[in-house]
Structures are given as C-alpha cells and as structure tokens.
Symmetry: C2
C-alpha cells in the first residue's frame, strides 16, 4: 500500500504554528468538563434554527424587490455558480457605511470564505517570490501566521506594546528587513480589541501609523473581527480604513463574530488601484478575485444569503443585530475583571490588562506558561485557556495566558476564575 | 495615492490560463442574447427556493434523530465554527457507498469549498519545493491548471487520445520529467465524461492505469464531477477509487453538479496513510485538514446542511436525486448529436466525438479556433461555445471547440446548432 512520509509533504505541516489549533482542540476534546476560556467563539445561546429560514427569506425578498430579479433570476442567484467577488457586495458596502463610516465602491469588495480566506488571498497576491515578507504585530492571530507559512512567506514580528503597536519598532523592522534583502509587502494588525491581546490603538497612534504607511508605501492589512464589541457604547475609534485617505489600508471583515460562524462569510475591501504599464486596470479586488477563482471559485451564495438576510433584518447594521450580544460581552468583561481583582491583589505577581471591549484579556503569571501547564490546568483544575506562546511566530516562551470570555455565562466565569486561581496557586509553588 | 503595479503581484495574475475564465465570462456578458453552449452548469429549471428550507430541515432532523444531538448541539453544529474536515462526512461516506460502491472511513474525507478547494489543498500538500510537478491529462479543466499556477507548480501534460489517457505517453512523461530533475507527485484526470472532452476511460484502461500508478508510487487525482451522468443507465464503469486496492487514488467529488452549485460543497477522499519516522500518524485527510484550517478554516456548516439534506431526502443517492436531470442531459446529448449529424455530412471536414454521458462534446472544425473566432461567433452569429485552447496549459492553437449542453432546452439546442452551422460556414470561407 502506498504510504506518504510526512517529509514528502509541504513543510508547513510540521510547523508548530500550524499545529497550534489542533493541539488546543485536542486538549479541549480530552477535557470536555473543563470550563473553557479558550474558544474565541461568539455567544451562542441566542441562536435559533428558525433564524436561518428567516434570513434566507429576507434575502430572497431583497433580490426580488430591491434588485428586481424575477423568480428564475432569484433561483439562479441562490443555486447556481455566482459572481466570484460575491452576491452580497452591495449589502457589505452599506454595512460598512452604516456601522463603520467607511465608503467604498462595492466593486472593490471581495466576499470570502471567512476572514481566513481573505488573508490567504491577500498574502498570495503579495508574495511573488522568496524576497517578499509580511510584517505582523506580535502576538498575532495564528490564522495569519499559518497562511503565511503555507505560502512560504516570512512573517516579521513588530512589537505590540501597550499602545497596540510599537511604532519605533515598526521603523526598526522596516529597516532591518530591507537590510536582509526582503521586501516588506504589508503589515498585518487587529487595531480594535486585538486577538490575542484585547488591546486597541488610540486615534493618535492610528494616524501616525497611516502616515508611516503612506511614507513607506506599506500596505496595512486591518483585521476588524471585533471592532463592534466596544464595552462603552458611543466611544468607538474609527477603523484605519475610515481614516485612510491614501488607500494604504486593506480592510478585512468577518461576519463570523457578528453574523454567524457557520456561514463562513467574510470580506476584504481592496480598493488600491492596480496598474499595468502605468495605466490603471482596476482595483486590487479584481486581482484577489482572480486568485479566489482558483482557490474556492465562489463564496457560497446560500451562505451569503443568510448573512445578507441578517443585515437586511437589522437595517444593514451588525451593531443593531448584536445589541444583546454586545451587552453580554460587556457584562462578561466586567465579570472577568472584577473576578480577577477579587482573587489577585493589585501590585502582586499576577496582573492583567483592561481591554475596552472585544473577547479577550491577557493574564501575566509569575511562572512560564506552556502547553504542559495547560494540560495540568485542564486535568487537575478543570479550566482551559490559551497559552500566549501560540501567538508568536517563533513560539517564544511566555508567562502569559489568554482568557476568552465571549461564550460563557457569569456563573461559569466565576467558577472558572476560581479554578484558574487554584491552578495559579499550585503552579506558583512548583519547583 | 498608493498604486500597485501588476508586476509587483503574483506572477499567475498575468497568466493566460488564469485569465481564461474572465475572458470567457466577458464575452458572455457582452452578448447576453447569444445562445450559450459555454457554461458547464447544471440544469437549473428544476431548482426551487423552497428546497433550501426543506433540505435544511431534513439535516436538522438528522442531527437530532440520527446523531442524537439536543437542541443546543444542533444550533452549535449549524451556527458555530465546525469540524475542519466537515460535519456531513458520514453522509458523504454513505453516498459514496450507495452511488459509487466506494467504502471509506469517514475520517479520511475532507469536505471542501467545492472541488476547487480540494484540488488546491491536494496540490499545496504535495508541492514542497520547485522540484515538485503535477501531471495532468490534457486538455484539462483550467481550475486544476490555475491552482497549480498559484502554487508555482509545473503542470506536465499527458496526452488524452481516444481512450481518455495515452498510457504510452504517460510512461514517456514520467521518464522525461524525472530527467528534468522534477518529482512527479500525482496525475490529475477526469476518468468519466471528462471536462472538456467528454471522453471516459474504459475498464481495461483504468486497471492498467492503476497498475502503472502502483508501480511508480504515483498518486492519481480522480476528479469525479460528472460520473453520475451516464447516458445509458446501468452501464456505469467503476471509478478509479472503487478499483483502488493500493490507495493510490485521491478521489475528488463535487456536489455542484449533483447537489447545487450555490452551496459550494465538494470533498476529497484522502485515505493514504501518512508516516512520520516510519509510524503511521493518520490519513492524508488530516494533513489536508491542517492546510484547510489556514485557507478557509471550515466549509460552511449551513451549506453542508443543505447538501446533506438533499442526500437525506434521496436515500443518500445523488443518482436518485438527479433522476430527472439525468434524463434531461441524456435527451440534450442526443439532441446535439443528431443535430450535428443533420447539419454536417459524415466524412466531411466537421467532426465530433460521441460521449457516453456528461455535459460536453468536442467539435473539430477545418479552421483555427481562438478567442477572436469566439468573439465573431457571438457577435455575428449569436452563439457562444468554448475554444479548446483554454484547456491546454500552453494554450496551443486548436481547431476544436467545446459544446456544453447541460443548461439548454431542445429548442435552444436546435436554434444554437443552426447558428453554429452558420458560423462554421462563414469561418470556413475566410481567407
């Protein structure tokens, strides 16, 4: 029988970054009764199967009433192969205007199979040969690092620091990368409630970053998965794309957190003009579309219909659609912060940050945290979280862990923190 | 404003193979009233919006009744992030058994965003560096060639010939490729009713191909998009996978033609054991899953639910589900064959093949056929088809064109062939 030695397959398959997700899932699977602060999943108790039918019907009504499609055209839109850039692009553009104050031509949007495909398409477009590298604010979501590894593209870390990005370090890395003979094609970051740190860039930092990007002709890949989940309503900072006058920002959006993960619908706004022999041939979105047609062909029109229907039922606003969820995330954030404060004295060896929203908090502990610590935490204390070293490209040792609070109830948070305190106490006493 | 010269993006973006689909779509868009023999789309007049609701409900009932999921678990399966290898894997395994006589462990199946993603994942796994090449029976579907180009992987053509694959040429190419210092990782082919030729491999050729593959440890990538559409019921030849005793076959399936294109659901059976330091670590499917988690994360569970529901409503058989469609394709094939015979005398300069089923027929004409001929055909004669040179990796000149008959009615076929005869007559007189 034919056997395939692992070393005859792509090198990324033995890369610890790619194995991170599997390893974390395995621990969760083996400890089903542990309380999990691990999964960055949206709150699920408000989901109802009936919503799928309602959203679908809303999209059908839109095709017919708003776009003037007859019954045969409606069926074709839903059932047949569709436009590579998507069939809900007008709704995405409207959503961006309503919720983010971003105005873009719908033709510069590519609807993707989640934000993950958007990252993959962007990196594929930008990586022409082994000299092309992508910068990423570290710690970074491992979906970005994993996509880069699959494309044999080096990821150059830029320090996050307390402001969400260390701009001095960015300058240093740009210089150092150039000296290594690499081209820095883009910088990836999550400006709002970053995964994994929960940190957001303030307005001044955003403006300075945009200036630096324009000066260096550096594309910024803005991953906006959590931007709507602000704990203090009305205080949202504009996205980089909303501030982008020089078209240096590629804006990646996800409907996994605001719509439903099970639709696997995200998008990228790529309005950069692409030129051929000096003449503009169209937005970068058209080139991403060409790549997409050879990766997934289309994003399922049925899945788009469901997310589109959710937008239609909520005045094109995911902020409106998630009113109750946002309250829950806010409540959970407060619950975690106050629960930590109650259990660990200020100025002591255990500390944490105070995000303004999102799904994540980072806790610093007085001992190294690795996958073995997580295994002990799960087995002996019944609580799961994410070791922060998974978010570093080189898997540096770390004394930090990420708590995700989006999926839990106040009772589970309280019990989970009690268990976490037990784990931290036990671990602090280890030789 | 930042501009991106096309030459700073991945080289595939200026590759004529990647541009084929766009070019063909453009011509179709500019001539909306032309009769189209171009699109390889399933017959759409039997689609009903209501089916989407019914399929979804059937899948919900399956989760609850067959898998014993409670209401919260059902919601989680549909709405949340899901298993990377898919949530309908048991249904796919059952379908393969019922319709194809293929028995596989559901764990060796990866449910993908259409067959396109399956091809992409397989090529990504097999391409470790610039020495890895893929063989493909040419002419070949350009989704395969496009995926290879995106991965900077050479495609080595193997002649199709009248039997669907020229096994002598396969031997020659294996030798020649090795001499060039390349590793031939796999051979791609569509054994049943190939796109674009419509040709199928007979049983003897299949068995010989399997022997050669086992001898050379050559993986066979079997693309089975059209296998169920046999014009003579009861006469289906087993797929390569059904005959595969040595696990040399990677079987790629599509539910675009048999389910609905708008779900974008396909799959790959990858049951090859992967070894690490001599020990089996699991099926190749697990490695493809790892890649998938960094390309699209999951295939939409909602989309899987719809295709799964269609299987459930039809006893796990797409053959049963497509009874009426198969009749229509059979009728259309006869209509095209008899229409051609009526218009072009046997032994004359115009000839065509006689496929045993599928969506496609290839017509040979006494003049070169390129995109300019297609443009003239659309503009002056109101009929569209696909120039065969798009299915060759090097876009060789060709005197052939592909007719797709799956989407048409008998009336449109007749009128379309009349127009095609006009085009051929006019073109034959050109200097």
């Amino acid at each position: 029988m034919l056997e395939l030695p692992l070393e005859t397959l792509h090198g990324a398959l033995v890369d610890p970054v790619l194995l991170s997700m599997n390893l974390l899932n395995d621990i969760a699977t083996h400890h089903p009764n542990a309380i999990s602060f691990a999964a960055g999943r949206p709150f699920e108790e408000l989901f109802q199967v009936n919503q799928l039918h309602e959203y679908l019907d809303a999209f059908v009504a839109y095709l017919s009433n708003d776009l003037g499609q007859n019954a045969a055209q409606v069926r074709r839109t839903l059932f047949q192969y569709g436009r590579t850039k998507g069939v809900m692009h007008h709704l995405v553009a409207k959503y961006l205007e309503v919720d983010e104050g971003i105005r873009v031509d719908p033709e510069s949007i590519v609807v993707t199979v989640g934000a993950q495909e958007a990252m993959f398409l962007v990196l594929r477009a930008l990586r022409t040969d082994e000299r092309d590298a992508v910068l990423a604010v570290m710690p970074a979501y491992f979906g970005l690092t994993g996509a880069a590894r699959l494309l044999d593209m080096p990821v150059v870390p830029v320090a996050s620091g307390p402001t969400g990005i260390d701009l001095d370090d960015l300058g240093r890395q740009l210089t150092a990368t150039r000296k290594r003979g690499l081209r820095t094609r883009a910088l990836y970051l999550v400006p709002d409630f970053s995964n994994p740190t929960g940190v957001s860039l303030d307005l001044t930092t955003r403006r300075r970053l945009l200036d630096i990007a324009a000066e260096h002709e550096l594309l910024l890949i803005e991953d906006d998965a959590y931007g709507l989940f602000h704990a203090a309503p009305g205080e949202r900072t504009p996205t980089l794309k909303a501030l982008d006058t020089e078209r240096v920002v590629l804006h990646i959006g996800s409907f996994a957190k605001t719509g439903l993960p099970g639709a696997r619908v995200g998008f990228v706004v790529a309005d950069q003009p692409v030129t051929r022999q000096g003449a503009v041939v169209g937005p970068l979105a058209d080139q991403l579309s060409l790549i997409k047609s050879n990766v997934t062909l289309n994003t399922s029109p049925v899945a788009q219909a469901i997310v589109g229907g959710k937008l239609l039922r909520n005045g094109h606003s995911m902020l409106a659609a998630n009113k109750r969820e946002i309250e829950i995330y806010r409540r959970n954030l407060q619950q975690v912060l106050s629960g930590l404060a109650r259990r660990f004295p200020a100025g002591g060896p255990v500390s944490w940050n105070t995000p303004g929203g999102g799904f994540f908090i980072v806790v610093t502990v007085p001992f190294p945290v690795d996958d073995k610590s997580l295994e002990r935490s799960a087995r002996e204390h019944g609580v799961i979280w994410t070791p922060m070293h998974h978010f570093y490209a080189n898997l540096d040792h770390s004394q930090q862990l990420r708590l995700s609070f989006s999926l839990l109830t106040p009772e589970l948070i309280d019990e989970g923190l009690e268990r976490l305190a037990g784990f931290i106490a036990a671990e602090s006493k280890l030789p």
